[in-house]
Each structure stands twice: as C-alpha cells, then as structure tokens.
C-alpha cells in the first residue's frame, strides 16, 4: 500500500506522521503506527528520526504489512504497519491539491465530526468521540499569527498559532509542523526571530493557507478522567502550490 506523506509532526524526540492512500476511488487518511508497539497501553510511540530525517512531505512511501487497527476515536485513522519504505518519488501538484481539498470539512459538517469543547485559549475533544482526528481548514494568511514562549529547561519553545476556527472564534493552537519549525530554527536561536520567520513564511504561502489540524492523543492528567485530545496545528500549506 502506497501512502503520500502529508502530516509530519513532532512528538517529543520522535515524529508522528499521517498520509493519504488512494483506496476505493478516493483519498483516505491513515496514521501508520509500528506493529512492534501494538501491545503498548497507548499509541503514542512515534517514528524515529533515523528513519525519516532527510525526507520531505508529499513523498510517496510504501506501508509494509498494513493491518487495520481497532479504532480509538477520534483517532480512527490508525493503521498498524511493519515498516515504511520510501519510493523515491513525490506526489504531483494535482494530487497534493486534491488531498488537501478532500480533507476539508463538508458544508455544515463539524471539523472532526463531533463537538469540540473550549478552554480559555484552546479547543479539545474528549477521547471516544469523533469521526476523524485530522482535517484541513482554509484560513486567510494574514489572519494567522504566531506567538511563543520558552519554558526554561525545555528543549524547544512552545510556538502557537492564533487562528479563527468555525464556531469557536480565535484560538491559540500549538504548532507541530515539523518542517516549518525546523526552518524557523534555522532562522536563528532567538524566539522572536523564529516567530518573525514563521509569520513571513505563512504570508508567502498566499491565500488561502491550508492549515492541517490534528487532534492529539489523549492527555490524561488524572487516572479517573478520560483526558483531552487537543486541537493542534499540524501543518501549513499553500493551497495553490502545496510545498513540501
């Protein structure tokens, strides 16, 4: 099974990836997970940097030994695979646009197929509900603002994007887009420089920007409560010319 790599986010030192597979005459989004960790209590083991570094989004990869995973809503896209193999090819411009467009919510449909709840700044969904954990939202580039702060002792700053979500108004979402963050880091060590870079980079994408939104795995603070799946900004793409 071939997958076009679409979402590439950071989860600590590992990566979390998702992509599109062409199945039954339509694009289907999947989140490949390593079968080796199938018996683990939670599906939060990401992919190693050794395997992925040097590659880019929109590359085509073979999913080896795919097996359906028991859906754990909202993460219904999970798919067990034995390994990944890059094909050395990338998706065409038309395929990229089609994948982004296909994953937009339909008119009247909620982003993740279920109600979201808000906190003062963010949005989350309870585990066990929802029809998907990944979606695309079209946003005017000049309405996206980046902010950030560095918790001393952490390896990297917490960068957030301020976006307007349908029904929920302006929300501040953690930015997990690995490629954009990596380029921002190359812009300089200072957080201000990185924010300036991110702002300029997104403005260069033109209008509208296709923002990939993803729900995190449940953050469980107390064992007697179900946890919260936070909405995160997983990727920022130019819709006209979806870049790697």
């Amino acid at each position: 099974m071939d997958m076009i790599l679409l979402d590439w986010t950071r989860m600590g030192r590992a990566y979390c990836i998702a992509g599109a597979v062409w199945q039954d005459q339509q694009w289907r989004i999947v989140r490949p997970l390593l079968t080796n960790f199938r018996q683990g209590p939670v599906r939060t083991v990401g992919w190693s940097a050794y395997l992925l570094d040097g590659h880019v989004r929109w590359e085509i990869m073979e999913l080896i030994g795919p097996q359906p995973a028991t859906p754990e809503p909202p993460h219904v896209e999970d798919l067990w695979v034995r390994s990944l193999r890059f094909r050395g090819a990338t998706a065409s411009l038309e395929q990229r646009r089609a994948i982004l467009t296909t994953t937009l919510p339909r008119a009247g449909e909620s982003l993740f197929g279920s109600d979201l709840a808000t906190t003062r700044t963010a949005v989350y969904q309870r585990p066990g509900t929802g029809a998907r954990s990944l979606a695309t939202l079209l946003v005017p580039s000049d309405s996206i603002h980046f902010v950030g702060v560095w918790r001393e002792g952490c390896a990297e700053p917490d960068i957030r994007a301020s976006l307007t979500l349908p029904d929920w108004g302006n929300r501040s979402l953690p930015v997990k887009d690995h490629h954009l963050l990596r380029k921002a880091e190359q812009a300089g060590p200072d957080i201000e420089q990185r924010i300036q870079f991110l702002t300029a980079a997104v403005q260069r994408m033109g209008d509208p920007v296709a923002v990939r939104l993803g729900l995190s795995r449940p953050f469980v603070g107390r064992s007697d409560l179900p946890g919260m799946c936070w909405v995160m900004a997983d990727g920022f793409f130019s819709l006209m010319d979806p870049q790697p």
Partner: protein, 424 residues
C-alpha cells in the same frame, strides 16, 4: 494597601492551581514558587495559565509574554518581573475575593444553538403607579421618580400556571414545532406559582412526552440565562428544549407602607417561553452563543428574602445593589462583546434585566449607548425576575445584527449571552 511581590506570588500560585485543576492535571496543590514551571505545566496548561494571568492584569496574552521576555522559569521569577513592570492584577492577594464578573472560561462542551421562537403571556391586570403610590402612602409620582416604574402587571385572580402553559403552547405553535418533538422542558422562576412539581405540571399541561425531562432551574433573575446554559448542554442529546419562565411575585410580596413594601412594589408578574433547537428552524431563528455565568456568594447580603407568616419580604441594600448590578451587567456586556472581537457600538441591542425601571437607563449611560439600544420592559411591567429577558426581547422586532442578553440576580449571580452571528 501596597501590592508586594509576595502578593504577586500568591496570586500566580492561586491561578496556577485553578488552571491545573480545571485542565484535570492534578488534585494536589502547587505551593513552591521556586519550582521550575516546566516541571509543573505542559504547553497547554501553560498557555491557559498565562491567559488567566493576562486577563487578571487586563492585558493581552502577547503583552504578558513580551513582558516576561518570552522565557518562563519559576513563579517567583515571574512575580518579580510582573511586579517590577508595575503590573497589579485586578484582584489582589486572593483572586477569589473579587472574581471576574464574567465566568472566566467559556462553557466547555457547548456549541452555539438557535433561538427559534419566543412567546410571552403577561397578566391582564395592570396596576398603575398611582395606585401603588397610594398603597405605599407616597406622594404622586414617587414610584416613577424613584424606581422608573409606571405600571406593573399582576396576575390577580388569573391562573399563572395556565398562563405559563399558554406561553409555551404559543411558542410551539408559532414555531410549528409539535409537542412530541420537544426534547426537554426547563422551567425557571424566582417567585414560583407552585412550590413543588412545577415543571412536571407544565409538562402535563403542555402535553409533552412523559419521557421528556422536565427540570426546574433556580438562579433568581438570572434563571433564564441559567436555563439557556443547561439547555445548551442538553441539546446534543434531545434536539430541542422549551424554556419557560413564570413569575408570581405579587402572590408573595405585599405592597404596604415601609421599606419592605416599597421593595415589593418593584416586582410584577409574567410568563414567557423560548424554544431552543440545535439547528436553525424557520427564518426567524437566531443563533445563540455560549452562555457565561458567574457568582459571588460573598455579596448575598445585597438582596435577601425573609420568610414571614403572611408572605415573603425582600431586604435590599438598594443603592449598593443597583450599583453592583449596573457594574456587573456593563462588564459582562463589554467582556462578552470583546471575546467576540466586537465593540459595544457593534451591538444592535442589549436586552437587560431591569431590577427597577431606572437600571436600563443607568446601563445605557455606563456603556455610552443611546437608551433605545437598551431593551427592558420593566417600566411597563415591573421587575419580572427570570422572565424579564424574554419579555423585553419579544417586545421589539428581531434585531438584524448582534445583541446581548444580560442579567443580575440575588446571590449575587450574573450572566450574559450573545444572540446573532458574531461574525455577521
């Protein structure tokens, strides 16, 4: 009193513990201000906490991050930075002493819904201010001048529960919404005509399905907003909720010479119903945003009810109560509008609970709005308690743009909700 770094530390710790609890992070309290915040907060909790602190200081989240140099170490360090910048929170040492007048967090798990129809049943009997002044042994024009009330509606011999039922029936008929599709009935009242089983009684009178939950909601004069809030939580399960407010204050409060009788003279009777649906129904349906509610029990003494042998007496600290009420509603409106990125002038109307007939004018002045933008029926009906908001709303043509309903009630409780599309 001087605001010290220790005060700042106490404030930050208090807010931190509130946020950790709200985000279900911990049940134990953080007390060490020198512990690295990276060990205490993940990125989601940190931004929530910073947003709370920013709001307390009446500044933006971005401004507080800039003040801290975009680096956060410990609470002690942060308190020193904020203190040296001269920033003092709205509420000093203990934030609980002076809570924000709007619930700090928008209600979770609540999606906007639609107000499909509103219907009102006012009593047939009208008692003029002249008649009330005579009962109070006050000179002509006294009630009008002191309370801005020109007349009030009273049930007299009318069956108030039947009137409430008529309000509900009319609401459903006008909405073309069959009774079997009503998913739940919420009934609110500050002065109920029936002390027990009122919701069940109305469920029966309206011939709603027996399995449709019939629930009574308190909340005094904010009861209608409280009912809206509960309805928004129910709508995903039940699809539609009929909210009824019925007030029979004149049954309990006796107009007679003296302060208690003068307070009683402020209140009138009435009933109103609103149909709320998850999805828009009909061309007149108006979107309803999340309801914000707040409470400050330390101010309960401003308005108390005392049970007597022949009824109930209200004890009001009138001027203080009016001042707090106007302040709370003005702030609720400003904060709610601001939360939607709107200014006060963007609102077509502010539908206000009129504790007395002068409050709407005072609120207009406080907000810098012309009086006609503040909707209240109190001068013509008396204080209708929980029914005052829908009665005022129904007395005007539907606004094309945005409006805010706001109320303050005994407790002290307050609340607000935006109607209309904030992005329109």
């Amino acid at each position: 009193m001087t605001y010290t770094i220790q005060d700042a530390i106490a404030h930050l710790l208090c807010r931190l513990n509130e946020v950790l609890q709200r985000l279900e992070k911990s049940t134990s309290s953080v007390e060490d201000p020198n512990k690295p915040l990276a060990d205490l907060l993940d990125s989601m909790a940190m931004v929530e906490w910073l947003a709370v602190v920013a709001e307390d200081h009446r500044i933006s989240l971005a401004a507080i991050e800039e003040c801290l140099g975009r680096r956060i170490g410990t609470i002690a360090e942060m308190a020193a930075q904020l203190h040296s910048a001269g920033w003092v929170p709205n509420s000093t040492n203990n934030p609980r002493r002076a809570p924000s007048l709007v619930a700090p967090v928008p209600p979770a798990s609540v999606r906007p819904c639609w107000l499909v129809r509103t219907s009102v049943q006012l009593p047939d009997s009208i008692e003029s201010a002249a008649s009330i002044n005579a009962k109070l042994q006050r000179p002509a024009g006294w009630l009008e001048r002191h309370a801005g009330i020109h007349q009030r509606r009273i049930w007299a011999d009318q069956d108030s529960l039947a009137a409430a039922s008529q309000a509900g029936s009319a609401c459903l008929e006008q909405a073309r919404w069959p009774t079997e599709k009503v998913g739940a009935l919420l009934v609110t009242s500050e002065a109920p005509p029936l002390l027990t089983g009122m919701a069940a009684n109305l469920n029966h009178r309206l011939r709603l399905e027996p399995h449709a939950p019939a629930i009574e909601i308190g909340g005094a004069c904010t009861g209608f907003l409280a009912a809206f809030r509960i309805a928004q939580g129910l709508l995903d399960q039940v699809g539609s909720v009929l909210v009824i407010a019925v007030e029979a204050a004149t049954r309990y409060l006796h107009v007679q010479p003296g302060p208690a009788g003068e307070d009683a003279a402020l209140f009138g009777d009435g009933a109103a119903a609103c149909l709320l649906c998850r999805d828009p129904q009909g061309v007149d349906a108006v979107p309803v945003g999340p309801v914000v509610l707040g409470a400050d029990g330390s101010s309960a003494g401003l308005l108390q009810a005392e049970l007597l042998q022949n009824g109930v007496e209200f004890r009001m600290r009138r001027f203080e109560l009016a001042s707090r009420a106007v302040e709370a509603m003005a702030r609720s409106v400003r904060e709610l509008a601001g939360r939607h990125g709107l200014s006060i002038s963007d609102l077509d109307a502010i539908v206000v609970h009129g504790g007395n007939g002068r409050l709407p004018g005072l609120l207009a002045r406080k907000l810098g709005l012309p009086p006609e933008r503040i909707w209240s029926a109190t001068p013509q009906t008396g204080n209708l308690g929980s029914a005052s908001l829908p009665v005022a709303w129904a007395a005007h043509p539907l606004p094309k743009g945005r409006s805010i309903w706001t109320a303050v009630g005994a407790g002290l409780m307050w609340g607000a909700v935006m109607l209309g599309n904030p992005d329109a």
